[in-house]
């Protein structure tokens, strides 16, 4: 049954290919969505079965066949459902299905409707293979597959040169990551003689000494792979450009699922990472740096999808540093809630873009709240959720990460995370106010076509909004009767669920590796993180929530003058907070992104091209030259042996 979960979308791909245009649009949509929905149902049934088993025995394995066997080295095409992959598979199929449904409406007028769903189903197959894999090789199949689909989908609108460029950039950066993954995989194989998770993780403590070069190298190589896939420093630049793809793709691949593969991989290999303290510390530092850094950039963007893209990079940073401080469960928790609200944000943004006939510049939006009531409602929910206001989903997971960082003594990381939280709230509400509030800055053309999205697009939004509200409750200890409204004692439901994978680590919700916090500290931390979010929202509100009409201006111009300049406090805030932050974001974005990072990528390309050109010089086409080189080769070989 397990194998059917990835197989169904693949079957849909095959049917789509074979039947082709005979399917018609309706048929295509039904096939694509139906396959993913069936996968979701199967996944849910499997997880229910899994839950019925005793906690220690919660693994289901499906050996499909032996892929290759050489002596005692054996690789099966095999799938594994354990608590960790169960969370992933539910998120992927569930959110994936909603996004498929939404795409039916969003892509309704696109000429390449069938091709789109072909790629999308192929992606689902690859992603499900990745998360359900039982060994590194099968995971790598999924890993490459999602990369390929991502590349195809970024460049989906291939008549746009920018789309083709963005696809290429994603590809180049991801190849660097893949190199790391392969290297890590081969290192593990060299030491443990296997690629099966169970065997590798069982053998690792025996063959590796904690903290030695070998395990550090292996985990750092894997981390390089993870940073490529999950868009972390230094390999994050491809993700914002990937927004060239259709918006449902951004939601599915570049927010909810594929980009979290790196986090999943690190969590999957938590045994290896905890054996390499340096690597784990690197994960934490990279994650925290990315979380803060990307958030500052998000502040300075005007393209609605780019804001969300940098936000995704930043939120993925939170997941990484959760893993880095040892709170793998919290990282997976945030991965899940993030999938809900970030998919919602992208789909909501897509709904706005759809309504405005393709406009993505927030400076040309404004005042859409009343015109797009459903979209506005769900976007507000998503913004609150990502900002971290209780009791929305983002609050629970982010708070768990931050308190884990604090509890494990990573104070620097904690401060970075807290600042990032302020910025997150700020840029999300900046987006909200610019888009939905204030006066309309729509072009005449856009105004004319303005319409709320069809039901097939709104329905998934509402479901995701509901999940963004209640999704965090799995972080509550409600099975214990909800004695206290914290993640403090008894273990949160999700943590307990994941405990067989990450190990039983006492009562603290955050993680086994994280020491306990006192009750007061825990509450204080909650208060601090809520205050941070509220502060960010307030700042955004002051800066961007302008009323559309100005009735006061006529009645009391002097008061209005003061109000217009908002007691000049805005300017003060602007000078001491908003402008520096924006300027910093701008500088970082322009300088770092374009000059340093892109420059390096171009530089590498240049050196390779140069080398290739040099080698071409030798390829003169003259047979004499070739014979000369042949002879020189022979001479060199012989000289090497006779002279030494």
């Amino acid at each position: 049954m397990l194998a059917l979960i990835p197989a169904l979308p693949l079957a849909a791909v095959a049917v789509n290919l074979i039947l082709g245009d005979r399917l018609g649009r309706r048929g295509t949509a039904f096939l694509a969505c139906g396959a993913v929905f069936a996968s979701f149902v199967l996944a849910a049934l499997s997880v229910i079965h899994l839950a019925s088993l005793p906690p220690g025995a919660r693994t289901m394995v499906a050996d499909v066949y032996t892929w290759m066997r050489v002596g005692d080295f054996k690789v099966d095409v095999a799938f594994l459902l354990d608590p960790l992959s169960s969370v992933m598979v539910l998120v992927v199929t569930g959110v994936g299905f909603l996004i498929h449904l939404y795409s039916v409406g969003y892509m309704a007028h696109d000429a390449s409707f069938r091709r789109f769903f072909l790629y999308l189903n192929l992606f689902m197959f690859a992603m499900l293979t990745l998360v359900l894999a039982k060994n590194f090789l099968v995971m790598f199949v999924g890993w490459e597959g999602v990369g390929l689909c991502s590349y195809l989908l970024i460049g989906f609108w291939m008549d746009r040169p920018s789309a083709a460029r963005a696809g290429m950039k994603a590809f180049v950066v991801n190849r660097i990551g893949d190199f790391g993954f392969l290297l890590g995989m081969l290192t593990l194989f060299a030491w443990t003689g296997s690629l099966d998770y169970e065997r590798v993780f069982a053998a690792a403590p025996i063959v590796f000494h904690p903290g030695t070069l070998a395990i550090t190298f292996a985990t750092l190589a894997l981390l390089l792979g993870a940073t490529g896939k999950s868009a972390q420093i230094p390999l994050y630049t491809w993700l914002p450009d990937a927004m060239e793809g259709p918006t449902p793709v951004s939601a599915l691949i570049h927010a909810a699922t594929m980009v979290t593969a790196g986090v999943y991989m690190v969590a999957r290999c938590h045994i290896l990472f905890t054996m390499a303290p340096f690597s784990l510390e690197t994960v934490a530092v990279i994650g925290a740096a990315t979380a803060l850094f990307a958030a500052t950039i998000g502040v300075a963007q005007n393209d609605i999808k780019r804001v969300l893209a940098y936000s995704t990079v930043s939120q993925l940073g939170y997941m990484f540093f959760a893993c880095g401080v040892g709170a793998f469960g919290a990282g997976i928790f945030h991965l899940m809630t993030h999938a809900f609200f970030k998919a919602l944000l992208f789909l909501g943004a897509g709904s706005v873009i759809h309504a405005l006939s393709g406009e993505q510049d927030m400076r040309k939006m404004g005042g859409l709240a009343s015109r797009l009531p459903w979209t506005h409602g769900v976007m507000l929910v998503a913004c609150v959720a990502i900002a971290g206001i209780p009791p929305f989903a983002g609050f629970f997971s982010k708070d768990e990460i931050l308190s884990a960082a604090f509890a494990s003594g990573h104070y620097g990381v904690w401060v970075a995370g807290l600042l990032g939280a302020v910025l997150t709230a700020f840029y999300m509400f900046r987006l909200y106010f610019l888009t939905f509030r204030g006066s309309s800055r729509l072009t005449h053309e856009a105004e004319h076509h303005l319409h709320e999205s069809p039901a097939v697009m709104v329905a998934p939004l509402v479901v995701l909004a509901a999940l963004s509200v209640v999704g965090g409750f799995v972080g509550l200890p409600f099975q214990e009767g909800g004695r206290r409204l914290t993640t403090l004692e008894g273990g949160a439901a999700l943590e307990r669920w994941l405990a067989p994978v990450f190990g039983e680590g006492g009562a603290a919700g955050a993680s086994h590796a994280v020491p306990h916090l006192s009750f007061t500290t825990e509450w204080a931390l909650i208060a601090v993180s809520v205050a941070a979010a509220a502060f960010g929202i307030a700042m955004a509100s002051r800066a961007y929530a302008k009323a559309a009409g100005e009735p006061i201006a006529e009645k009391a111009p002097r008061l209005y003058g003061l109000l217009e300049h908002k007691y000049w406090i805005d300017e003060l805030y602007d000078t001491i907070a908003v402008r520096p932050i924006r300027a910093l974001g701008d500088v970082l974005w322009r300088f770092w992104d374009e000059k340093i990072v892109d420059g390096t990528v171009n530089g590498v390309a240049y050196v390779v091209e140069w080398a290739s050109a040099v080698l071409r010089v030798f390829q003169t086409g003259f047979v004499g030259t070739y014979a000369l080189f042949l002879t020189l080769g022979v001479a060199a070989l012989i000289a090497h042996y006779l002279v030494r």
């Binding site: 066949y65 032996t66 892929w67 290759m68 066997r69 050489v70 080295f73 090789l137 790598f140 199949v141 490459e144 597959g145 390929l148 460049g155 291939m158 083709a164 696809g167 290429m168 590809f171 180049v172 190849r175 660097i176 893949d178 190199f179 392969l182 290297l183 081969l186 194989f189 060299a190 003689g193 390779v608 091209e609 080398a611 290739s612 050109a613 080698l615 071409r616 030798f618 390829q619 086409g621 047979v623 030259t625 070739y626 014979a627 080189f629 042949l630 020189l632 080769g633 022979v634 060199a636 070989l637 012989i638 090497h640 042996y641 006779l642």
Partner: protein, 488 residues
């Protein structure tokens, strides 16, 4: 020397020799048939060739589990021979299917074409089956001479003749080195039989004897030339580009596999005692070959030429398996050769379909928009490119996984890092083909696709094998392991 005695052959031996006999008879029959007039559109040659190839493969498969040493130990029938004989015959058969229409379209439909194809296949079989340096050389020359002519078969085209000339001159040069190497080895050991060389070296290790070392190195040069290893690779791009596309596909698969078959037999049977001598040098050659091949391929605009450099790079990967040596390295090499042969044949088979009449349209630009104009062809080419680049779930990926895992086990970590880095880089140029097919508009004059049933069958066969061995590698793997077992 022992006096020559007429070999007494039993039934098994006749089956074992069936391949050689069928291929020789087929080639001669084709030449004789040339005197019987036939209409220009006749498929006579292709039919006879296919039959000969099928008979050859069927014959050795009939006695695949037997192990016979014939003609004074010069000709060995073992798993290794069977593996390569079948591989060469299938490569030949696919090449025939690809040529079926191609030779008529490009007006090179002469009986000699197929006769030469069979002769070179015969040479390859001899190279794989020989247990003696002299017969290896015979097989190599038989294969090469036929290929020289085939490369220049488009007589009216200057580039074809030029390519044949270069290939011939340099090939003769390399053969000279090879023969001289054999002579020196004979001088040092007193025999050309591989098993006897091994016994001689085991009894009195003469490590450091210049005659032996130089002889061995020259042997390496000769084989290095045939498999297109750096720095003996320079003929490859010119020959591949100038040859008729179907011939390019055939030689890129068959000649390389034959070169490696001989190299493997020589190194694994005769020279294990000298392993510490040839291992470092082959490691360097492998690293260089991979790197030069891939880096140069990056900038090519002619796909045939690009695939020529790619085939150089693949020789580098294969050398990694050879360096790893032993049972594992040998079977990894066999596995990779089978996988490589069909994905490469497939790619050239697609290229052979492009263009009207004798024109050749094989630049990246010509491929623009092909994915939409012919979805099937586009899909096939994409799979071949992904497989050559080692992307799962294709056979090329399994080949690399197996090969690199074997190399890791043999402790060749630096070589593996170079290899993995190379395969990461290589995807760039393979993907350029896919990008052109799916993401670019065709130019002013879209390339014509010359579909033909036989060529379509060839595409399907190569595509199916490339996908199948990616999804289910175990059968081929077991076969490769069993085939190498008899050798050691």
């Amino acid at each position: 020397m022992m006096p020559f005695t007429m070999p007494s052959l039993i039934a098994v031996d006749w089956w074992a020799l069936g391949a050689v006999i069928a291929l020789s008879v087929g080639a001669m029959l084709l030449l004789v048939l040339e005197f019987v007039p036939a209409p220009p559109a006749s498929n006579r040659g292709a039919f006879v060739t296919l039959l000969a190839l099928l008979a050859a493969a069927g014959s050795v498969l009939e006695v695949r589990d037997a192990r016979r040493s014939l003609f004074d130990g010069m000709f060995l029938h073992d798993g290794f021979t069977v593996f390569f004989t079948v591989l060469f015959c299938v490569i030949g058969a696919v090449a025939v299917l690809q040529s079926w229409d191609y030779v008529k379209r490009t007006r090179i439909n002469h009986g000699e074409y197929y006769a030469l194809l069979l002769s070179s296949t015969l040479g390859m079989v001899l190279m794989a089956a020989s247990n003696d340096l002299i017969t290896i050389f015979l097989g190599l020359e038989l294969m090469s001479l036929a290929l020289y002519v085939l490369v220049g078969f488009r007589r009216t085209r200057l580039d074809s003749s030029e390519a044949a000339m270069k290939y011939f001159l340099l090939g003769a040069f390399a053969s000279g080195f090879l023969l001289y190497g054999i002579a020196l080895l004979y001088g040092a050991t007193g025999t050309t039989n591989l098993a006897k060389v091994a016994m001689f070296l085991a009894d009195s290790p003469m490590i450091g004897n210049p005659m032996l070392i130089v002889g061995g190195l020259l042997l390496l040069v000769g084989f290095g030339f045939k498999v297109a290893a750096v720095p003996f690779h320079m003929w490859t791009p010119d020959a591949y580009e100038g040859a008729p596309t179907t011939v390019t596909g055939y030689m890129s698969a068959g000649a390389k596999a034959a070169g490696f078959a001989a190299l493997l037999r020589v190194l694994l049977v005769a020279f294990p005692p000298l392993m510490s001598e040839w291992r470092p040098i082959l490691s360097w050659i492998a690293a260089l070959t991979m790197t030069v091949g891939n880096v140069t391929a990056l900038l090519q605009t002619n796909v045939k030429r690009m695939l020529a450099y790619s085939s150089i790079a693949h020789a580098g990967y294969l050398l990694v398996a050879v360096v790893a040596g032993g049972l594992d390295g040998g079977s990894a090499a066999l596995f990779y050769l089978a996988v490589y042969s069909f994905m490469n044949l497939g790619a050239f088979g697609v290229l052979a379909l492009l263009g009207r009449g004798a024109e050749e349209r094989v630049t990246i630009k010509d491929l623009a928009g092909l994915g939409f104009r012919s979805p099937m062809l586009g899909l096939a080419m994409t799979v071949f490119m992904l497989s050559l680049g080692g992307v799962p779930p294709t056979s090329g990926f399994m080949g690399k996984v197996y090969l690199f895992s074997v190399a890791v086990k043999a402790g060749l970590i630096p070589l593996v890092i170079v290899g993995v880095l190379n395969s990461v880089v290589s995807v760039f140029y393979y993907l350029r083909v896919t990008v052109a097919m799916y993401m670019q508009e065709p130019g002013a004059e879209p390339v014509e696709i010359a579909w033909a049933p036989s060529a379509a069958i060839a595409v399907v066969i190569t595509l199916a094998l490339t996908l199948w061995w990616g999804v289910q590698a175990q059968d081929l793997l077991t076969t490769a392991q069993r085939s190498i077992l008899g050798l050691l």
